[in-house]
Symmetry: C2
Subunit: 195 residues, 2 copies
């Protein structure tokens, strides 16, 4: 078990409906040392890529993405979920479904912050059905920028998002892939990954 799998096994809580609560360390209360350790791991896994920008989606991706951007010495951009009066001008837009909130979100990134010269590392906390990630990929490609890869904290391997996105040729690195989980016992099984 790597450090993140160990932390999920220790502090993650399995709920009915394939919900994994990691709110004590990853998406409500944040363990900063853990974020930095995850960021160092993403930095190592994508160290051969000429990353110019880290892209994520609000809200819980922001903390991890900031740490990753610090490792690469590049800016972080977060996609916004609703149209704000502060966000005028031209924007890249994608529609995404949210598993957690059971609704459609419009996701936007200002055109000022992505250009064809950009080599983008996309970061998010969860990958399940892949809709959020596909929305971010579509935004990067609308900008004619390059998707260098996707770094995910926790992938739900029993949903097909990771399979679909890898199948499209994208380099997806997930620090922990959950093969199965059982709300009645709290047991979580991780997919074996190469060290």
């Amino acid at each position: 078990m790597n450090f993140l799998e160990a932390r999920i096994a220790k502090d993650g809580i399995v709920k009915e409906g394939n919900v994994l609560k990691v709110d004590s360390f990853l998406n409500h209360q944040m363990d900063i040392a853990l974020l930095d350790q995850m960021a160092a791991e993403f930095h190592q896994r994508f160290s051969n890529k000429p990353i110019t920008k880290v892209l994520t989606i609000e809200a819980s991706g922001i903390a991890i993405a900031c740490s990753v951007a610090r490792c690469f010495g590049v800016p972080m951009v977060f996609a916004k979920k609703t149209k704000s009066i502060n966000l005028d001008g031209d924007m890249y837009v994608a529609e995404v479904d949210s598993f957690t909130h059971k609704k459609k979100n419009t996701v936007i990134v200002s055109k000022k912050f992505l250009s064809p010269d950009d080599h983008v590392l996309i970061i998010d906390d969860f990958l399940a059905n892949g809709c959020a990630l596909q929305g971010l990929i579509s935004i990067v490609e609308s900008a004619e920028a390059t998707v260098e890869g996707c770094g995910i904290a926790i992938e739900k391997g029993f949903q097909d998002g990771g399979w679909r996105i890898r199948n499209l040729g994208y380099h997806v690195e997930s620090l922990a892939i959950i093969e199965s989980m059982d709300a009645s016992t709290g047991a979580i099984t991780f997919r074996e990954q190469e060290a």
Copy 2:
């Protein structure tokens, strides 16, 4: 001018309706080195307080709050704006108005993450009418924890939130206080603060 005032003067854009856009470095694209410099400044200003937790509100407060939490070596908790199916159990709740989005938000923090032993530093990117900050203060006090202070990146000094909250006895430190701004000329005047 301090480093943040200088950056606002250089890259901030004044829009009609008292809107200041800082989306190129603070709340859409994030300059990580600037965040870390702001965090170091907050750490210095609150260094005599026994901070155990940093609290902010999603989404744009998260990045600054993470950097501040790293400086203090404590966890960061961010308040959530909508009720998520992943957030069950008991929660502290506050109602806040949003200036930017012209709507009311329900803000929640899980009771697990604030206790009477906590000494909380509240961090946010903007302070204008003070509704968000008052919501966070009310959540900390519902938990019978101690509000040790509020660290704000940019305060709109021509709105009364800062005045009201200082008047209630809270220690508010704003790195930049805007006295006035003019959308027709783009001019921004900062309040003189002690160095």
